[in-house]
Point group: C2
Chain length 502, copies 2
């Protein structure tokens, strides 16, 4: 553009954090605002040297910045790699053509592979505002994506990813679709499978709508944010790893979409399949086991829904060159006793250490899934996986492997619980008849999980257990009295998180 000169402003550091959306602060009397006709909520392109970002304009009426200055949000300064005093140029944002595809989707048209390619490219480049991202996520939620569209979205997300190349050979992986509090089998499974000499370079996500993701739990025991080079060194040495996929930008598109899903507290089947499989493909996995817990208050509520999801997973996996195996499991209640990063880590350690009080359900499920992976590798014959997995766990080899992996990732630390707790007690005698996973998860989140790693719930009332009046149903942990109070008030305001039958 030939009027670049006139569009130059000097950066003033304002020190305001606005998270993912880039904000530019320009003075209402700024000559560019006036000449170019910018107004509040206008979106503009900001250039500095060879970088450019799209930012939303907030108009400044005070002396915070001068007429020839611009402020950028903290994150936007990082993305543009500028510091105070640098010169930037500001332009009108050209119409983003991929938004017409988003509108087409809103109006019910089926999108093609190339439509998704354009959309994903633009959103990774930061061209979409929060409002536009929310519209895309919503339009693709519920049952709104066909299998073809899920394939298109998955391919687009793989294209926008950094990939890990492992050379030849089988790379195992597993994923749980979630919705079940606790259920932290991954660290146990990785330890068993890696101890068996198989490759399992596990990348996990942080929580989307749950009180903890595997990466959150791992981060309470060892370093989970590793570079691709570091991951490769750990896996070369130990056969397995347990790291946060977000740190290596395995799927930058997914990170953006997930942050919006989190704000909206929605989670859709098509987007989930695309998210999971694009990350697995980018991570270089070849054989993936997907755990689908089914329960009335789990994410997947019926066998029928699970079979539908299985179909989509298999259809999309085939198109993108992944071998997928599905395990449909019991999702009627939490697996393990902890809900929240550190609380779940304590369960994991208890199982690995073969402690007497270790949660039997977590142990059983981990052995079951690890067994399937052992067989899936082709190294162990069908029917033998489970016993071999149990043997590795019982012998202490899984624990040794876990500790070796933690050391390779930067050292092991014991997880630490939050400082405050509150015990929720039964107000009558009874036997546990049902457990509301969603309400438990919400209470754990209100208590601060996963942001506060030590926060969450310790669950004492599995199905079928007899509980006396005054007996503890679950304990809420929080790092601040504000959060403890908040979670406790919510728990008191709702009915039947744990249903007791007299």
């Amino acid at each position: 553009m030939n009027h670049a000169q006139a569009n130059t402003l000097r950066i003033r550091s304002v020190g305001i954090g606005t998270y993912r959306e880039n904000i530019i602060f320009m003075h209402v009397e700024c000559p560019i605002c006036r000449a170019e006709g910018f107004s509040a909520l206008t979106r503009v392109v900001v250039h500095h040297r060879d970088r450019s970002i799209v930012a939303t304009l907030n108009v400044v009426y005070s002396g915070l910045i001068a007429h020839n200055e611009a402020g950028l949000s903290v994150e936007a300064m990082e993305r543009l790699a500028v510091k105070e005093g640098d010169e930037i140029t500001v332009f009108h944002l050209k119409p983003i053509s991929s938004l017409s595809k988003v509108r087409a989707k809103i109006y019910g048209r089926e999108l093609t592979d190339s439509d998704f390619g354009e959309i994903v490219q633009d959103l990774v480049a930061g061209h979409y505002s929060n409002i536009e991202l929310a519209a895309f996520v919503t339009a693709c939620s519920g049952d709104n994506l066909t299998v073809h569209e899920v394939i298109g979205l998955t391919r687009a997300m793989i294209s926008a990813s950094e990939k890990i190349a492992w050379g030849s050979g089988i790379m195992l992986d597993k994923h749980s679709v979630g919705g079940l509090p606790g259920n932290r089998t991954t660290p146990v499974i990785v330890s068993i499978v890696a101890a068996a000499g198989l490759n399992i370079p596990k990348t996990s996500s942080r929580a989307i709508t749950s009180p903890a993701g595997t990466a959150d739990t791992v981060a309470t025991m060892t370093q989970a944010s590793l570079s691709i080079e570091q991951i490769k060194r750990v896996v070369e040495k130990e056969n397995g790893c347990m790291v946060w996929g977000g740190a290596v930008k395995l799927s930058p598109a997914d990170d953006i979409l997930i942050s919006i899903e989190k704000s909206l507290d929605i989670d859709s089947a098509g987007q989930m399949v695309a998210s999971v499989l694009s990350k697995k493909a980018a991570a270089g996995s070849t054989h993936v086991l997907i755990d689908i817990p089914v329960g009335e208050t789990a994410k997947v509520r019926s066998q029928e829904e699970a079979l539908k999801l299985q179909y989509v997973f298999k259809a999309v996996a085939e198109e993108v060159g992944l071998h997928v195996e599905i395990a449909i499991t019991d999702g009627a209640q939490p697996v393990g006793r902890g809900i929240g990063p550190a609380l779940e880590a304590l369960d994991v350690l208890s199982v690995l250490r073969n402690e007497q009080g270790a949660p039997a359900d977590l142990r059983e499920k981990s052995i079951h899934l690890a067994g399937i992976l052992l067989e899936l590798s082709g190294k162990y014959s069908i029917g033998t996986g489970k016993d071999i997995a149990a043997g590795i766990l019982d012998s202490g080899k899984a624990l040794d492997k876990f500790m070796s992996i933690c050391r390779a990732q930067g050292g092991f630390t014991e997880p630490v619980l939050a400082r405050y707790n509150y015990e929720v007690r039964a107000n009558a005698d009874g036997t546990v008849r049902s457990v509301d996973n969603r309400k438990l998860a919400r209470i754990a989140k209100l208590a601060g999980a996963p942001r506060s790693p030590g926060a969450g719930i310790l669950f004492h009332s599995p199905l079928g257990k007899k509980i006396r009046k005054g007996g503890v149903l679950y304990t809420i942990y929080a790092d601040t009295t504000g959060e403890l109070e908040y979670a406790r008030t919510y728990a008191a305001s709702i009915n039947e998180v744990i249903l007791l039958q007299p």
Copy 2:
């Protein structure tokens, strides 16, 4: 809450405008942030005296505000009615229960009247973030609302409105579903109908996705932002008015939804019906004429779609007690020559003044629709409306009435065109075969309309006109060279806004 004391901060005016979304700026080391576990993008409740708002937290890392201070965006300070130095208290936002209805809608469930009631109440109270608003608007877009849902949404929006009470008698009104550039019949129709002694208290909206709404056009000639009391005085004196509905908060829910639709550049049938009829009901109208222009590049593209829309309008109107008449009109090309607030105003004045070069199509359509309204009132018999309307216009009585209404609204001023213009010329001889309304509208918007009232397009190439090579197809008007350049570049980059046949 009993920890109010601890949650007190002192307001520091930061002078940052963030438009509709309330933003609170708190220091990263602020004791409340730390004690309550707030983090970036957290939403909080802010109290001052008897008012409270919900705001999104931006974290400040600089000395912009002190640890015991909070900044609020300019608009948030107005909404909370605070000034620098005032004390506010800040709390966690309780889960917004109506959001579970939005999620249900996203997952494909049909919402009830009471669901819409809860949602609309919360969004009018400012409890929804931009992301949540975008999700609701998207979930209700396309063909996603059933007629029952449109009725529910309309009722909820009426409940959330300030209503104008007119006593007894017929109150006429008209509305165009739009999508056609120009088409500024309203000021002509109001003048004719009011001159005939009938009541037509017309409230209009600003542009949603178009280069001008009627209120934008009116504002170039007279005061369009009147209070309900002022409107009543104008209508008592002159029988009609032409005012901006947004100024009187006739439908605050609609104003919020429309700002999101505008950002997304989407417009859905269900939301449109709810928007139009809720405003008409709130404005106290009894008999409403709806103009549905049909054309390949208009909002409504086929006769079939128009009939479907007619059905929804009639079904919903009946439920909320309005008498609705539909006129399906020709939407193949712009009506009139101007596209943009002032340019359309010049067309209107030209028709009212019976100038020789006045656009015949705008005159014809205004007479046609005014005639229907005259008959709809019951005062004139069927078949006579059109001639009576033409007579009032030809006699100059409509112009007199228009000027009287303008005087009553605060005085008349001539509309002023933007300073810069650029003529787009034909590059071969030919006859105009088709006109792309959408591309014309986009060019006008890129030139600054409706934000710059003088900006837009003067259209010289109606269907069937023979144009010589080098002849002017249309002229772009803009207030700044940046915008003129922007619109011109876009126009040059696309094909066939005006299709000529040799």
